[in-house]
């Protein structure tokens, strides 16, 4: 990597639940190897030692929701040789981006006793809306194995083996009987990017779309089929409004059901 000696890693948090950075600490078996491969220079969740930048790799969790954060991300970019955004919040805006479909002032007036002290942006946006990002690792939360793969790839200057194809491919490789065809709960697997190892379909639940849209996602065909089998627009809208609701293809799909709803 860029610097001399052992590469410096920093982990940053924006609007998020911390689940993705915890994946790093969850790398129990690999943690020792990780701590000898990188220097955890800035990781408040794990250590009080806070070593100044520049950093070789910055992992950024969370979305941008305040004017302060919109400034802070630029400083981080400037002090990082490589910036990797991790998780649905950082790569798509996260569940908090549901505010993008409504008026955030209404929410703050309902939630906070003194909303006038709340300084927040009207929209929750991914890191890549603000600065250039070297890699986006999807997931809500991210998969620990994919995180290790991306870190290893960056350390050794090779392309990370992170597929952009559907969850269905992982599901079929695993030998799961497709619930969508065999008993019918709606499953977003055919339009969602792989990475979770088909976690929900393995337990007979439809995919919720945590990893966001796969490459060439044909959401319209899937919802047209479900509409024919009796689902209504309100249900279809809700399916696409969850963890990655503002990822472009999913946003467009849910909005198309909103228009028809009125």
């Amino acid at each position: 990597m860029a610097g001399k000696g052992i590469p410096k890693l920093a982990v940053w948090k924006f609007a998020s639940c911390d689940g993705c950075q915890l994946s790093l600490l969850n790398c129990e078996e690999e943690l020792l190897a990780l701590s000898s491969a990188v220097h955890m220079a800035y990781f408040p969740e794990a250590s009080r030692a806070m070593i100044k930048g520049p950093y070789d790799i910055s992992l950024v969790e969370g979305s941008i929701t305040t004017p302060h954060d919109a400034e802070r991300i630029h400083q981080i970019r400037r002090s990082s040789a490589a910036l990797i955004s991790i998780g649905a919040c950082a790569t798509a805006g996260g569940i908090q981006a549901l505010r993008n479909f409504a008026d955030v002032r209404e929410f703050t007036s309902l939630v906070y006793a003194s909303p006038q002290f709340i300084e927040t942006l009207g929209k929750s946006t991914p890191i890549s809306d603000h600065v250039s990002v070297d890699f986006e690792l999807r997931g809500c939360p991210i998969s620990k194995n994919q995180l290790l793969e991306v870190l290893t790839a960056f350390l050794h200057r090779r392309k990370p083996a992170i597929p952009s194809y559907s969850v269905c491919i992982e599901c079929k490789r695993k030998g799961v009987v497709c619930g969508l065809v065999a008993h019918g709960p709606p499953c977003l697997g055919p339009v969602t990017q792989a990475g979770c190892g088909a976690l929900c379909p393995t337990y007979a639940r439809g995919c919720y779309g945590c990893f966001g849209p796969k490459e060439t996602p044909n959401t319209g065909s899937l919802t047209a089929t479900w509409k024919e089998s009796g689902m209504d627009d309100a249900e279809l809208l809700r399916l696409f409004r969850s963890f990655t609701a503002t990822a472009e293809p999913f946003r467009k799909e849910s909005e198309s059901h909103e228009i028809q709803n009125n």
Binding site: C168, K174, E215, S221, T225
Partner: protein
């Protein structure tokens, strides 16, 4: 010679296979479907269950028949046992400046495949032509295949998406089985007709203590298979099909299919003859250990055709067309047969119910039958 084995003596077959050291794989009910898995006795078979299949839908229903083999093509084929979805090929270690390659050991026990449908039997022959092809044979496939005993079961009921009769692959088993069974159920009678197709198969017959089948019983067997042949859920006119598809690469129909197709790859994953794989390399954090894994791949992904500068098939249209023309056209030039055996899995397991027999019919300019 054809034998008659009483249905209640089927456990003799399991015992004979067990004595010969085979691990038995066969149909059993799991997760609302009939799947191929390890089985130990006739009790594990899906007696009294039948599947209802149509495009994009599979339902298992209880029947009052005692038949063990009333199912048609299960969600996945035997492919995954011979050509595993994920396989570690090798690891390498870097030690003191030298590279050491450690090959993975892939020892397999002898396997008996019990309940191979005629379409799937033909699919195994197609996989053989791909993976046991002279100098380019695949070692793990060969190792597994050589240790596999095949017990086919003729179909006496066709499924809603079956079209083996069109492809000439069923519902009666062709060449390639070690044993072949036909299950016959009537009000007062339940038995199997048993034929052997190899010396390996023949050696399993005597422990069955089955008597020779009468000409009448053999006729009943043939009639039952004919019933299935007459009740195919789908059909495909294959005459001139390779040329027809090759001549219609710019047909407007491809755009219409592309609007429906999700490029999700389910069709290729479930197809018993789709054989594409990719290799993924990974390193450990230190960079001293690297490993290579082979994974099932699909022509429906963008990565599949990625070369320097981008994907050769960026559109869903180009991917569906590649798949269908390979199965029903260019496969013939490549391997001397169709790449489709008419099992209907790609139709049933497509989340939006795209039906290649229907698409072929439209490309031929004929009217739709199943809408």
């Amino acid at each position: 010679m054809t034998y008659r084995l009483e249905a209640n003596a089927l456990d003799r077959l399991f015992k004979a296979l067990g004595t010969k050291g085979y691990v038995i794989f066969g149909p059993t009910v799991r997760d609302s479907a009939v799947v191929y898995d390890r089985i130990e006795s006739p009790n594990d078979l899906p007696a009294g269950w039948a599947d209802q299949q149509t495009n994009g839908s599979y339902r298992l229903v209880k029947t009052d028949s005692p038949a063990y083999f009333d199912f048609t093509a299960p969600p996945q084929s035997w492919k995954r046992l011979l050509f595993p979805p994920s396989l570690h090929l090798f690891r390498s270690h870097r030690r003191n400046g030298t590279l050491e390659i450690l090959e993975e050991e892939h020892e397999t026990e002898p396997m008996a495949f019990l309940g191979v449908r005629p379409c799937d039997l033909r699919a195994l022959a197609i996989l053989d032509s791909v993976y046991l092809n002279g100098g380019a044979s695949d070692s793990t496939y060969r190792q597994r295949r050589e240790k596999t005993l095949i017990i086919a079961v003729n179909c006496t009921r066709a499924g809603g998406t079956c079209f083996c009769a069109s492809m000439g692959t069923g519902p009666e088993a062709g060449a390639g089985f070690d044993l072949c069974l036909t299950e016959l159920v009537s009000e007062h009678d339940h038995y199997f007709l048993v034929e052997s197709g190899s010396a390996k198969g023949e050696s399993c017959v005597s422990p069955l203590q089955a008597r020779e089948a009468t000409p009448q019983e053999q006729t009943s067997g043939r009639e039952a298979i004919r019933t299935a042949a007459a009740a195919m859920g789908r059909s495909l006119q294959t005459q001139g099909l390779p040329e027809l598809l090759a001549a219609n690469l710019s047909h407007p129909r491809w755009d219409q299919i592309a609007r429906r197709c999700l490029a999700c790859a389910n069709c290729t994953m479930v197809c018993p003859t789709c054989f594409c794989s990719t290799v993924e390399d990974s390193t450990d954090l230190s960079g001293a250990i690297a490993s290579r894994t082979r994974l099932w791949d699909s022509c429906f992904t963008a990565e599949f055709s990625y070369i320097h500068g981008g994907s050769l098939r960026p559109t869903i249209k180009s991917r569906y067309r590649q798949w269908m023309t390979h199965k029903l056209s260019s496969w013939v030039a490549q391997f001397g047969s169709f790449g489709c055996v008419g099992c209907g899995r790609c139709i049933t397991w497509c989340p939006v119910g795209i039906d290649l027999t229907e698409e072929a019919r439209i490309l031929r300019g004929q009217a739709a039958e199943h809408v």
